[in-house]
């Protein structure tokens, strides 16, 4: 691909799971590079291994073979607790089902990852407020997840993902559980993060409309990344509109 400023490099990664005596190969010899500031889309049929790949990129799992580099770190060689620490600062994860802690307010949910960093309460508060402001929910700061709509919850989820100012934002079907209008809002927000804050975003999606928002889309097939169809062209038109 030839990005000078490659931020993610996945080289010859294999991932297989064991089911009893049977070996299930999910990823086989996968290569991928994503450049800094890129909004990258990943598509593919259900069960093709998209989440598995995201888990490897986010350091939630390690490959069976091959290497995953994020920035200057080879995360596929880190231990579980090294990965945990690394994740806090470098990865912002956005889930399909938001996964906010129901006992905590929006503010506290966004604050959660900051508790792991050496910050004062004042600094935390400032960062949380900035993140919530960015997603347009500053006025809902003290609401519990149960008191927010799906779209609003996902925006809190995005605020939580960006609050530590991570290197990569990783989103697994972030619009998969939303109605069309909320989905558009979330996609607008992600695009804004990319263009306004120059964030690198890796998004898995089933939705072609979401994929059109991306700078580049690839498909996962038979354990490998393959080129998408003519989506790239349509993307330009859509982007203007």
């Amino acid at each position: 691909m030839g990005h000078d400023n490659t931020i993610l490099r996945v080289t010859d990664v294999h991932k297989y799971f064991r089911r009893g005596s049977e070996r299930v190969d999910v990823l086989s010899g996968l290569n991928l590079e994503v450049g800094e500031g890129e909004f990258f889309g990943l598509m593919g049929p259900s069960g093709s291994g998209k989440t598995t790949l995201l888990n490897l990129i986010a350091g939630l799992d390690v490959p069976s073979e091959g290497e995953v580099w994020v920035g200057s770190n080879c995360i596929s060689r880190m231990s579980e607790s090294q990965l945990a620490t690394w994740r806090t600062r470098n990865i912002g994860f956005v889930f399909q089902f938001y996964h906010l802690l129901p006992v905590l307010s929006a503010f506290e949910n966004v604050e959660l990852p900051l508790l792991l960093l050496p910050l004062s309460a004042g600094q935390r508060r400032q960062q949380v407020e900035t993140a919530l402001d960015l997603v347009g929910l500053k006025d809902r700061m003290w609401h519990r997840p149960g008191q927010l709509s799906g779209g609003q919850q996902q925006r809190v989820g995005i605020a939580r993902a960006i609050v530590t100012d991570p290197l990569l934002i990783v989103a697994d079907e972030p619009t998969g559980d939303l109605d069309a209008k909320s989905a558009v809002e979330i996609l607008d927000l992600l695009e804004e993060l990319r263009s306004g804050l120059e964030k690198t975003i890796i998004m898995v999606t089933h939705d072609p409309r979401a994929a059109r928002r991306c700078d580049r889309v690839r498909h996962l097939d038979k354990g490998q990344v393959v080129d998408g169809s003519a989506l790239q062209g349509e993307h330009v038109e859509e982007h203007v509109g």
């Binding site: 989440t51 598995t52 888990n55 986010a58 939630l60 799992d61 579980e80 607790s81 945990a84 620490t85 690394w86 994740r87 806090t88 600062r89 994860f93 889930f95 399909q96 089902f97 996964h99 802690l101 129901p102 006992v103 905590l104 959660l112 990852p113 508790l115 792991l116 939580r160 697994d172 079907e173």
Partner: protein
């Protein structure tokens, strides 16, 4: 750190599970509190007072103990024969005399049971009466002085006095019940301070002895049936348990006391041998009941926390995604149950302590001759400790499985 706030919120959220777990803990800590209070109470009364302990000398093989009065002179000396032998610091002798004011129509109210003893020993050898506040001491001393002057004098407890319908200064005539035929004319010279001796009475030892001695003169030289059995107990006071052991040896090795034989025990060794009868029960309480309660708390906690953890598996996985370490998840789950268990233990033991000691004034528990017992003050700290400890123990497994949650598995199941 901030985890504490999160723990509290989690406890509040899973409030049904929390309440069930704490209710069970409260009940079981209550059981443990009661059981351990009885045990520590018994420990206390059987523990040897190390200084100035009192020992009691009785007939070895018979209850009630009945010894010849001739034993008194040497027993009060601890059967000491040589200068090297240990002599007690103090002593007193007791004979029980029961009499009634109405021999034809005996009731509980007109019956008086009295200790015949040396009046002077009331102030040095009787429990509680040796440590009276000055005003009460002076009053009792005055009554004792009257008994010394007049051996017909008797000191009667307030309840007994009321039951008899008499007042200080009145005279009464008692018809002997156990000392059949030996009737005593008595003059009430005082009462005991309110408390332990409200139902007791004391008469002069010399008066009873004289009456027994006089019996043969009016009965063709025949002795009263109790003449050789008129000494029931001898109390001695010794400086420490070594001295007690020596005196006990002196007495048991002495040839004087062969018929009947006697034994010497401290109050606590006496209680101790009485409690031997309950040994299995006490052993069971200490080593079966109390641990069973603790195990139950642990199991209940384990189930409650386990259910909570399973319900929250996704959340815990999310926390891991955010960068929480397994150790922090472990601490959070352990901390939640520790908080819950400690709080439940605290509530339970403090409430029991307050209820029993302050409102009920002790629990009637018919063991040995203790009418009731109090909740040990130690319960205030070991109640929470027991609750917290058992809960912590019970949550080890759920907490371990919580921190082992594999994020990639949790999410691949959902998507």
């Amino acid at each position: 750190m901030k985890l504490l706030g999160l723990m509290l919120k989690n406890i509040r959220r899973n409030w049904i599970a929390s309440i069930l777990a704490s209710a069970a803990t409260i009940m079981l800590v209550l059981m443990v509190t009661l059981v351990w209070s009885v045990l520590s109470f018994l420990d206390q009364v059987t523990a040897e007072k190390s200084k100035d302990l009192k020992a009691i000398i009785t007939e070895r093989w018979q209850i009630p103990s009945q010894m010849p009065y001739s034993y008194a002179a040497t027993l009060t000396e601890g059967a000491a024969r040589t200068d090297d032998d240990i002599r007690p610091i103090d002593s007193m002798t007791w004979s029980f005399y029961g009499g009634t004011t109405d021999i034809k129509n005996r009731t509980l109210d007109n019956t008086l049971f009295a200790f015949a003893m040396e009046p002077q020993k009331l102030r040095t050898m009787m429990d509680d009466l040796d440590s009276l506040p000055p005003d009460q001491a002076a009053e009792l001393d005055a009554a004792i002085a009257k008994m010394d002057e007049n051996r017909l004098g008797t000191i009667v407890g307030l309840d007994r006095l009321e039951a008899l319908g008499k007042r200080v200064g009145d005279r009464i005539k008692l018809f002997g019940i156990n000392y059949r035929g030996i009737d005593l004319e008595l003059e009430i010279v005082g009462t005991f301070p309110r408390g332990r001796y409200d139902k007791s009475a004391v008469i002069h030892r010399d008066y009873l002895n004289a009456a027994v001695d006089a019996w043969p003169r009016e009965h063709n030289g025949e002795e009263h049936p109790l003449a050789q059995k008129s000494l029931n107990l001898v109390w001695i006071k010794v400086p420490d348990s070594d001295a007690f052991q020596k005196v006990a040896d002196q007495i048991s090795s002495s040839p004087y006391y062969s018929s009947p034989a006697v034994k010497c025990e401290t109050a606590s060794s006496g209680i101790g041998s009485f409690l031997d009868a309950y040994r299995d029960l006490i052993w069971g309480m200490r080593y079966l009941l109390a641990p069973a309660c603790l195990a139950t708390v642990a199991v209940v906690m384990s189930i409650a926390i386990g259910i909570g953890v399973r319900k929250r598996q996704m959340e815990l996985a999310v926390m891991k995604v955010l960068g929480f370490r397994p150790r922090q998840i472990l601490i959070m789950v352990l901390g939640e149950s520790l908080l819950l268990g400690t709080a439940a233990g605290l509530i339970s033991s403090w409430a029991t302590w307050y209820l029993v000691n302050n409102l009920l004034g002790g629990i009637p528990f018919p063991i040995a001759f203790f009418p009731s017992f109090m909740i040990d003050d130690g319960a205030l700290w070991w109640g929470p400790a027991v609750g917290g400890g058992a809960a912590l123990l019970g949550s080890v497994w759920p907490a371990w499985s919580a921190c082992r949650v594999k994020v990639s598995e949790v999410f691949s199941k959902v998507t």
